[in-house]
């Protein structure tokens, strides 16, 4: 433990040795303040971690639901592809040839949960359906159904993508927050408490030293006093000591000329 201003090991011969007590008391106040700060911080972080975990669980549940639904929808869409191929023949090359721009696009928005920004994807349609006339002569109905099914599948995929990115981000955030909470709880606070305890013991010791010093001085004084009294007695007994004139006890004053 070092001095709070220069970290030099505290000992009686310290550059601040003068107001020693003062230094220790100041350090103690500061340490108390820090302990309070650390505890408040830990509580706030714990609350944040709880909020994040709650949201995390919600997202997990939603992911499971969406994935199940996704399986169903994809199955439906693949089957409608088979149906369309049955009626309309093989239109896959026509479709692949005519691709130029995306019709369904995604915008990324931000959502805030307890200070953590989560990306959320939202899809929007742009442009007209460039495959409106495919299958004009055969299989148009099945193709329309197929387009609807796959559009649904794409929407579900976008939602799933949002959920999964939030999941991963939240996971990171929760890990970091928990690490901080644990660090404060198991490292910082004990350290501060130990320092505080040390300061208190030092202060006690100082006090005891002070007390002891006072006592010793008093003893010494007492011995001195006894010694000087003994001396005085002896000299008085030898008649050497002239009692100084006691102004108050004096009845006759030599200096008074007139009575």
């Amino acid at each position: 433990m070092g001095c709070w201003c220069c970290r030099q090991w505290l000992n009686p011969v310290h550059h601040n040795a003068g107001p020693d007590q003062f230094v220790f008391v100041l350090a103690q106040t500061i340490m108390k303040a820090r302990l309070k700060g650390a505890q408040t911080g830990r509580n706030l972080l714990k609350k944040k971690s709880d909020a994040l975990t709650l949201r995390f669980r919600q997202i997990l549940k939603k992911i499971i639901e969406t994935k199940m639904l996704m399986g169903e929808v994809m199955r439906e869409a693949a089957f409608s592809l088979a149906e369309a191929k049955f009626t309309a023949g093989d239109f896959s090359t026509t479709v692949i040839q005519n691709v130029n721009k995306a019709q369904v696009k995604i915008r990324a928005k931000k959502d805030n949960v307890a200070g953590v920004t989560l990306p959320v994807f939202e899809h929007y349609h742009e442009g007209t359906d460039s495959y409106e006339l495919t299958g004009l002569a055969r299989g148009g109905e099945q193709l329309a159904k197929l387009k609807r099914n796959y559009a649904k599948a794409v929407e579900l995929l976008v939602e799933l993508a949002s959920l999964q990115t939030s999941f991963v981000t939240l996971d990171e955030a929760i890990k970091i927050t928990n690490r901080r909470v644990n660090a404060i709880e198991h490292v910082i606070i004990p350290r501060i408490e130990r320092t505080l305890a040390y300061i208190i013991t030092e202060l006690d010791e100082r006090e005891r030293e002070e007390f002891y010093r006072l006592k010793k001085i008093q003893e010494k004084k007492k011995i001195l006093k006894e010694k000087s009294e003994k001396d005085l007695e002896q000299r008085r007994a030898a008649g050497e000591v002239m009692e100084p004139a006691n102004l108050l006890a004096e009845e006759k004053d030599e200096d008074l000329l007139f009575e």
Binding site: K85, F86, N98, L133, A137, R138, E141
Partner: protein
């Protein structure tokens, strides 16, 4: 002269007619379909197909077996048979065969044009072309820059040249126009085919003309149905209707004005042939109009085999074989996707 058919037909075409009837006898029957429907995996399907006329056509395929491999192999088999017929044919049967391949050629040309416009490599697209629609100038399509170049340099040699003349006003080519072009080409092709059959006379005309009329009307109905709610205007729609069917001219005019399915149905009710078809739509099996039309087409094609000494048997055989391929692919898809609820929605042939 009605007698000339029986007297002279076999001289030129008897061998091929016998061959095609033999091929027709090996189409899958209801029993075969029942067996296929009960298969659990595609491997089972392959084993069942080995007992039919398909034989070991899948033996050269590596694992795993997919539906698209089955489809390609079946198509190759049909192509081999068709080429055999074609190579052994004499006029006018060879012209008839050429007419039959025109519809596939139209699809291939549209595909190649699209690819050339998008600067795709010709080899990729050639793989995806329908084998029955092959023509010699296919690789040369990518050197053309615009459609008029394309026509003048490449297509003028193919049998498709006369059909293009009807639609050469399309100078810009985007998605909308490609489909319109395809349908216009098909309309001219159908009308030319119909005229050819009618001019040939005899039993061929008696058999083929009703089939082609039905095809024309069917296209008119389906185009109308599919154009509800799209950008296709009524005038554009009317230019796509083939005029060689029963609906010409009043029916087509009424159809061009139709706005929804009920109006279309009312138009169909004027014609005795189409009324029961439209009534069968919906119903208990959830049939769509297309399913109903497919069934009627199969019926007419099977009936073609009841007469002898005409070219219709070849047309009917190819169409029936195609339907069979579609059925097998459908069953295979249902099996591989484990979605067996609709596995019986194939169109039974025999």
């Amino acid at each position: 002269m009605l007698e000339s058919a029986e007297l002279y037909f076999n001289v030129d075409h008897g061998y091929l007619e016998g061959l095609v009837r033999g091929c027709k006898a090996s189409l899958l029957t209801q029993q075969d379909y029942l067996n296929l429907v009960q298969c659990e995996t595609l491997e089972d399907l392959k084993i069942h197909l080995q007992t039919t006329d398909y034989g070991n056509f899948l033996n050269n395929q590596t694992n795993p077996l997919t539906v698209s491999k089955i489809d390609t192999e079946m198509r190759q088999k049909l192509c081999r048979e068709f080429d055999y017929f074609r190579n052994h044919s004499l006029e006018p049967l060879s012209t008839f065969f050429t007419y039959m391949t025109c519809s596939y050629m139209i699809d291939n040309v549209i595909l190649l044009m699209n690819g050339a416009l998008q600067k795709k490599s010709v080899k990729e697209i050639l793989v995806k072309c329908h084998p029955l629609g092959r023509f010699t100038e296919m690789e040369a399509v990518n050197i053309a820059e615009t459609t008029s170049d394309l026509f003048n340099a490449v297509l003028v040699e193919t049998p498709l040249a006369p059909f293009f003349q009807d639609c050469m006003s399309e100078n810009t080519l985007d998605e909308l126009n490609i489909e319109l072009l395809r349908n216009k080409l098909y309309k001219s092709y159908l009308e030319a085919f119909y005229k050819f059959c009618k001019n040939h006379g005899d039993v061929t005309a008696e058999i083929m003309c009703p089939i082609l009329e039905f095809e024309a009307d069917r296209r008119a109905f389906i185009i109308t149905l599919n154009s509800f709610g799209t950008e296709l205007s009524k005038e554009d729609r009317e230019t796509l209707y083939p005029t060689c069917g029963k609906l010409y001219p009043e029916g087509l005019r009424l159809l061009a004005q139709a706005e929804d399915f009920d109006q279309m149905k009312r138009v169909a009710e004027h014609y005795g042939v189409y009324k029961p078809l439209f009534d069968a739509v919906g119903g208990s099996g959830g049939k769509t109009l297309e399913d109903v039309f497919y069934e009627r087409e199969v019926q007419m094609n099977v009936l073609a085999f009841n007469r002898q000494f005409h070219y219709g048997v070849f047309y009917a055989y190819v169409k029936l074989k195609e339907q069979e391929m579609r059925n097998i692919v459908w069953i295979a898809e249902c099996i591989s996707q484990r979605h067996r609820t609709k596995i019986n929605s194939y169109i039974p042939i025999l």
